[in-house]
């Protein structure tokens, strides 16, 4: 009987929430936003196109051709038939003509694609002074692109190093072998098995999980709070209180709002999965080539990580939902709630920001301690679980404490709820709230 009543409250909360326009719009908008985020790198960066670079060579040793040759060996991607990253042309110039030649080239630089035939992506200037100091000047339309500039810098460093070594009489072949760069491929290991995930991917996955929980707790936790205040204001509370216990009302509300949130997350998660599985097709639609798509880190989630994430998501959401509901019960208007909600929101924020430091070093003492504190564990533990190997005992302890914390918070919230929902008038002091809890 009582379960049926809770269920009817859960259903009402869920159905009434999912039916609203706001829910529909936010549910649709985020995937659109996600597609945008996914496509933006493809549409915005020029890295996948061959850059046309002009080298103004005013050096006495005529280094230009050698550097141009080095640049021309760079390819986009790792496939054998990949396009060259740079197309380079050298313009020798005497020291006194340097400025004129350079400015002439710069004038044809930085236009949009197809603006002119003599158009350059950038102009590189080599003089004796800059070669000696290593501080080369590059005039380009995309100097803000950190990744492409980084690549250019690496290429130039290598070419310069090779030239300097060659000048000292060292064999070119030896130079080439000595300066071949190391490439680190990171592959995550989970329970002694390869997880098939690069370090970058597990980073993004951890970040995404923390962010989703953070959003869900803030958005849906606050919605729970708001709807309790609305129930108080519409005076429906008294009708409900005559047939439902405060605990049934609290639990029904938190579960109902939570399941609406979970439904939205499921839709988002589903569309993200679809997006990543169809990334090729979608990319092709926007004219991106396969190599670019390969370089996009789209994480996959192993079953273990998913289970841990969902577990902590549910526990964390219930814990914070109950606390937010209690705050709602204490207040008579949305404005009033802000002051009290801050205390709960602070815990959310601390957990969320702790996650960043844990992502950086998942095995730190801080990460371990944080994953034992019920308020922070939902943010920290899934991240650690996805990034490093957590001993099962530690997980069990964290979950155990989490459940104890949840029960305590629900009990506390229930006590506040019981008195608060029928209290109108001035907002209570903390001392009064303490009296409600002890009563």
């Amino acid at each position: 009987m009582s379960m049926q009543k809770i269920f009817s409250v859960v259903r009402r909360e869920f159905v009434e929430r999912v039916r609203t326009k706001a829910f529909l719009i936010s549910t649709l908008l985020l995937p659109v936003f996600m597609v945008g985020v996914f496509l933006l790198p493809i549409l915005m960066t020029g890295t996948s196109r061959t850059s046309r670079v002009a080298i103004v060579d005013a050096s006495s040793a005529a280094v230009g051709p050698q550097i141009a040759a080095a640049m021309q060996t760079e390819k986009i991607g790792t496939r054998p038939d990949a396009e060259a990253r740079y197309s380079v042309q050298v313009f020798p110039a005497a020291e006194d003509q340097l400025t004129a030649v350079r400015d002439g080239l710069v004038a044809k630089t930085g236009f949009g694609r197809g603006a002119g035939t003599d158009q350059w992506s950038g102009v590189l200037v080599l003089t004796d002074a800059t070669l000696a100091s290593g501080k080369l000047a590059y005039y380009g339309g995309n100097v803000g692109g950190l990744e492409s500039m980084g690549k250019l810098q690496r290429t130039l460093s290598q070419a310069l190093a090779a030239w300097r070594l060659g000048k000292s009489g060292i064999d070119q072949k030896l130079v080439k072998e000595a300066t071949a760069p190391a490439d680190l491929q990171t592959i995550k290991v989970e329970d002694g098995k390869l997880a098939g995930q690069s370090g970058e991917q597990s980073f993004i996955l951890a970040y995404a999980m923390g962010f989703i929980l953070y959003l869900a707790v803030l958005i849906y936790g606050q919605q729970t709070m708001t709807s309790v205040v609305e129930e108080k204001n519409s005076r429906i509370m008294e009708v409900l209180a005559s047939s439902l216990t405060p605990f049934q009302m609290l639990l029904g509300k938190v579960l109902g709002v939570g399941s609406a949130g979970l439904a939205q997350m499921a839709i988002w998660g589903g569309s993200a999965a679809l997006l990543s599985s169809q990334s090729g097709a979608i990319g092709a639609l926007f004219g991106a080539n396969a190599a670019t798509l390969q370089s996009l880190p789209i994480p996959s989630m192993s079953a273990g990580v998913l289970v841990v994430f969902l577990l902590y998501f549910a526990l964390g959401f219930l814990l914070y939902g109950a606390l937010y509901a209690a705050i709602g019960a204490m207040c008579n208007s949305i404005q009033e709630t802000q002051q009290y909600a801050l205390f709960v929101t602070m815990f959310v924020l601390v957990g969320f920001f702790a996650m960043f430091s844990v992502i950086r070093d998942p095995n730190s003492t801080m990460g371990m301690v944080m994953s034992l504190i019920p308020f922070f564990a939902p943010f920290v533990m899934p991240v650690r679980w996805s990034m490093t190997t957590v001993p099962p005992l530690e997980l069990a302890m964290s979950l155990g404490l989490m459940i104890i914390g949840l029960l305590l918070c629900t009990w506390l919230a229930g006590r506040i709820y019981r008195t608060g929902i029928l209290m109108y008038g001035k907002k209570p002091s903390w001392r009064e709230v303490w009296r409600w809890i002890r009563a």
Binding site: Q4, K5, S234, I236, V239, S242, S243, L422
Partner: protein, 316 residues
């Protein structure tokens, strides 16, 4: 006699120093309509909330159907219309009624059938798919009324059920309340409108300052109040009656309504003497009738002073 549906035993409730209900005792027996009367601030709503278990008494106890379990576990047998009406504004009317039925423990399917029947009966079936906020206040009250009665409770508790209703809707509600009593179920309602209580209730309790002033069957209450009461109605020249009505050897007290008045004669005074005096002064009379005391006059006589004080306190 059967055990009372509601028994309030020496209940006291305080709100931060203010005594809302003071050693109140009250029995409501099954069947019939029980009126809980009292001036504003007398503690009517607090008493009802205590019965409904929304508030906990500081002292004393309340039993329902002879059980001390509290109204929530018995909510399937009780219907409640709170003084502060409230519904989910964004919900559709039919969905809302179904939900209210479910919280009383009836199945969803059953609740749907009953909700539709109630909407038909109240003449708002066309609004079933509309949102509550699109309804007029009167219609919202009807929906709430239906919500309280959907599960056919054997005890119906209504806090000021007729306030804010136009005469037509008030009549509809009145018929429903009378119908419930006619089916042998129990109605307890509060009001400060005496005429209504007088016409509908078979038992009343008048409370003031949180304590019972008068309690019992309406006929008994009137008999106990005693005295000879005369109802007067004037057509013209009422001012000529003033010296006669002010004669304290003849008239004990008067409740003056302008065009009519109700007065209580001094013990042993002769109604004929009063009539003769009025005729002699050529006062235009439409009505001169020996009557039972009205609840209104009993109410005024018993709690008039208290009511005045209560009003002064509230406005202070």
């Amino acid at each position: 006699m059967a055990s009372p549906s509601v028994r309030i035993s020496a209940v006291t409730k305080r709100f931060s120093g203010h005594l809302a209900v003071n050693q109140l005792s009250l029995d409501v027996y099954p069947g019939g309509i029980f009126g809980l009367l009292g001036p504003n601030g007398a503690g009517k709503s607090t008493t009802i909330r205590l019965i409904m278990g929304i508030l906990e008494p500081d002292e004393g106890s309340i039993s329902l159907f002879g059980l001390l379990d509290g109204s929530r576990s018995l909510s399937a047998r009780i219907g409640y219309l709170p003084e502060e009406r409230g519904l989910y504004k964004k919900m559709q009317v039919l969905d809302h009624l179904i939900f209210l039925g479910e919280t009383k423990g009836i199945s969803r399917r059953d609740a749907r059938v009953r909700a539709q029947a109630w909407l038909e009966r109240l003449g708002i079936a066309d609004w079933a798919q509309k949102k509550v906020e699109d309804l007029s206040k009167g219609m919202q009250q009807k929906v709430q009324f239906a919500g309280a009665l959907l599960h056919e409770p054997e005890l119906v508790i209504l806090d000021e059920p007729f306030s804010g209703l136009d005469p037509v809707n008030a009549q509809v509600m009145k018929d429903i309340v009378v119908g419930i009593a006619a089916e042998g179920r129990t109605v307890l309602f509060s009001t400060h409108v005496m005429e209504q209580a007088e016409r509908m209730c078979d038992h009343i309790a008048i409370i003031a300052r949180g304590a019972t002033v008068v309690n019992g069957a309406v006929a008994q209450v009137k008999a106990d109040f005693g005295g000879r009461h005369i109802a007067l109605a004037f057509t013209h020249d009422k001012e000529r009656a003033e010296t006669i009505l002010a004669d304290r050897t003849l008239v004990a007290s008067i409740d003056d309504y302008g065009a009519s008045a109700e007065l209580q004669l001094v013990d042993g005074a002769d109604p004929q003497a009063l009539l003769a005096a009025l005729v002699r002064e050529r006062v235009g009379l439409r009505r001169f009738e020996l009557v039972e005391p009205s609840l209104q006059s009993i109410f005024i006589a018993k709690v008039g002073a208290d009511a005045a004080v209560a009003h002064a306190e509230m406005s202070a």
